[in-house]
Symmetry: C2
Subunit: 149 residues, 2 copies
Amino acid sequence: MKERMKEVRRETGCELCHLTVPVVWQDEKLSVILVDDAAYPGFCRVIWREHVREMSDLSHDDRLLLNDAVYQVEQAVREVMQPLKVNVASLGNVVPHLHWHIIPRYADDAHFPAPVWAQATRRTDDEVLAARRALLPDLAAAIAKHFNE
Amino acid sequence: MKERMKEVRRETGCELCHLTVPVVWQDEKLSVILVDDAAYPGFCRVIWREHVREMSDLSHDDRLLLNDAVYQVEQAVREVMQPLKVNVASLGNVVPHLHWHIIPRYADDAHFPAPVWAQATRRTDDEVLAARRALLPDLAAAIAKHFNE
């Protein structure tokens, strides 16, 4: 039986309160999406469902739950995407609704070793990007598996 | 009685294995420092002492301990620096030794609302920066208080 979603506080005009993209996994508390970024296949986002601003606004249990979700996604990203490094960040300056970026990084990516928010320094080979993009169904499956275990 | 520090794995040439900056707080597992960044007074770093690459390389208990430390520092930063937003990130592309950045952000800072790793778009007023810098002893005290409670 499908569990009924509890109503969460939503803010008008907040794009993370009203997700229009497909989710890879979702429960009452959080959603996981694959970010549509041509230069970064495997870029994932964990989005807290309630409109909360900072990690430290969460209750103790919710904070651990969110940290565990980021950890599960990081593990799935490592297993499937085999990155050189994982970058994890919660910024929210533009959209102050708690969410985490989990980004697989490679020596040949557009910004390495700089953060993805710096100026791009190269263009990754199209075939390499296509090969990484081909892993996305496996990544989605791995994320779902991590959360269902 | 001062507790004896357990030996941790260190890597030759890793600047985070061999910290040369003063720490605000330290125990067997992690160190907290105030980052010397003229544009970002209140920028803190939580550095795992052992040479570990990713959050998901930690044991369950260590991961929770590190998450809690980042949370304590975020709270201290909010209390003392009163930022508009806090940015939290673990990147490690240049120095692949697990560490977290905790950065107080303001509407008038050098990059807002972009991440601090983007191109700077303004110069914050010197007096404003000086006033924020004057809070650093309070921030150091607040961090120590959080960890000692």
